[in-house]
Subunit: 204 residues, 4 copies
DNA sequence: CATGAATGAGAGTTCATTCAT
DNA sequence: GATGAATGAACTCTCATTCAT
């Protein structure tokens, strides 16, 4: 019994080890370059080994993608340290989200843009990190609603609005679709202005 | 003289023919599957033929992508037929955008999500269809601002806000990221509610 | 009768016109890049047209190659203008050969290194320019022999020796095989020294 | 420990096996026909397998090319077995070089005529087989100079002269440029005569 | 447990050549 | 006489995946 458990634990630990390493090359080299071969080379395991811990590439991607959510979760959590005002919490988390996206574009890509890993999701435990992030967002919003600080009263609507807005903002930027803006404007500056404006507007 | 013109016209038509056909497989089979070979198979031409009409794959993708913008442009234009109220125009165009995205998800993917053809874009004439779409959006917004109907006063800020919101909304949906919403809610219904709420909020 | 002759003449002239132009791009762009497509593009004829004047690529290459021999012939001829001393003639022609090779490496390549056009040669008239060049060399050598100025008495042996030496010298250079020489030596300088030494040695 | 070594050895052996096989088609079918697919077909492996042992085609060509130099080196070495007289050594090596070229024309082609693998060479260890061959030649020549047996006193000049002559001789032959000699003469016989004459001339 | 070795499938691209018009 | 259009046959190379060991 104890032996079996230990083996299980060891297996999980090794999986994590591989994953951590894989995440690194993923971040450094990007989605396109992240072939199984490249990953296994970097972590100094054989490609075949990866298949001992992950069913296929999708599952590996999904696992990495979960690591991303963990990181995002940590940053989103600490973003509101010491902040009481729900609106201010919302603002901080907005900036934290933007910051995460720009500092980890390849990760953001995997987490929110790529098709690949999401197909695996169906069979996953519901309470993944991705969900927790979403929950976090919902909590902040709920506080705002409870304190009657925002003009949207429905939690789901508010969550969808805010997430959509934030995701659109960063993903259009990451995918270079904001080139369309006149060359005179500083796009990054404009994004911040836009974010602030949206907060102002959503406030009661 | 007439002959030359006819030949020229035929060449353009054939290019369009290929393009249309290619667009079909593209739409039906998706971005990933759209290899040169798959395309040429479908249109029953040899792979080499494609290179008579398009310099490389990127140029072909770009052309398809322009086709998409043309279609979107047409739909965005007709969306406001007979509508005078700027806010109502904005609403109609929001729905038109959503409709386009859901009816042509692979196209939307290519136009706004993929990295691929955007790199080619740099050397294109500025006044591409993509720009015109953006211009259209700006015009509607400008009318709203002029009529003092919305709470955002800066055109760029408003354009970025609204486009980001809309893009986030449809792209998270297309990429299945709205699964996170509780199974009880009808996601599509929620999206409409969200869109309506945002319009309500942005209004003066 | 007259008509037929005129047509024939016109055909030959056009052939020459195409050829001259093709030679240019050949020289400028090199053997590897000289595809039929590239050639026809540059001369502003269709690829198909080339096949009206040349059976296949080999024949075209052969014709260009003959143009090269014409040029070489001209340079080899004028190289000895006003020179009486046969040995001095030999030296001048040696330098002329080297000069030609370095100024027209792609042409030299085609004329003396490539396999391609030589296969066509079998069916050509014997008295091509290539032959004339060879004859020229033989004449100079014969003068040297007649005047008892060189130590080789057999014409064929002398021709083969000298040509081999010269070809080896320039072709090893063109193909970068002289890199093996210590980096301290100026290869070009060494080649001249080598050429002079060989002349000195071959002299009685 | 032993296992690792065995595996390593097996890997090297397999590499050699592939190489040997590849060399064969190479020799039999020539440089132009030596595509990766042709090679893999012949050795009954998939094209992808080749890339497990060689980075790309250039590296494979380079390896074959090194094999050629090894062979040449062996033949050039054994050519002077039991020979003391430096001049006689030079003669024997001249014949060995010719013999190698005629028995392995495609190999010779790759080693001394083609552009292809030489570009890869830059990053190779300096002491490749190609260098050793050159060194061998230099040693023989140096002996001749030291014993005051040849009329050229500078090592570099002598090396360049002799190599150029030999390379010109065999490469013009390989590329069929000696057709120009009158049909009555036996070209091979003439080459031998030429080689002998050159030796005679270079002697003090 | 771990992997070395191998591969089938497929990617984009180029080229000499043909032929109906 | 000239060509636009088309193509078959190649090319090199990459990748996720498998399986005997």
């Amino acid at each position: 019994m104890g032996i079996i458990e230990r083996k299980e634990r060891e297996k999980i630990e090794k999986r994590l080890l591989i994953l951590e390493a894989a995440k690194q090359i993923f971040i450094e080299e990007g989605f396109e370059k992240a072939s199984i071969r490249a990953i296994s080379d970097r972590i100094e395991y054989s490609p075949a080994t990866i298949y001992l811990y992950f069913k296929d590439k999708n599952e590996l991607l999904f696992a990495i993608h979960e690591l991303g959510f963990e990181k995002l979760l940590a940053e989103m959590s600490s973003a509101i340290d010491g902040i009481e005002d729900p609106i201010e919490q919302l603002r901080k988390r907005g900036y934290a989200y933007m910051k995460f996206a720009f500092e980890n574009p390849e990760m953001y890509d995997l987490m929110f843009i790529q098709n690949a890993p999401i197909d695996t999701l169906k069979n996953q435990e519901v309470w993944s990190c991705g969900e927790q992030n979403f929950t976090l967002l919902c909590e902040t919003i709920q506080s705002c609603i409870d304190a009657n600080l925002i003009r949207i009263k429905d939690l789901n609507v508010a969550a969808m609005s805010i997430w959509s807005f934030m995701h659109g903002l960063v993903s259009l930027r990451i995918r270079n679709r904001f080139n369309k803006f006149n060359g005179d404007v500083d796009v990054h500056e404009l994004m911040i202005q836009t974010l602030e404006t949206m907060i102002a507007i959503v406030k009661v």
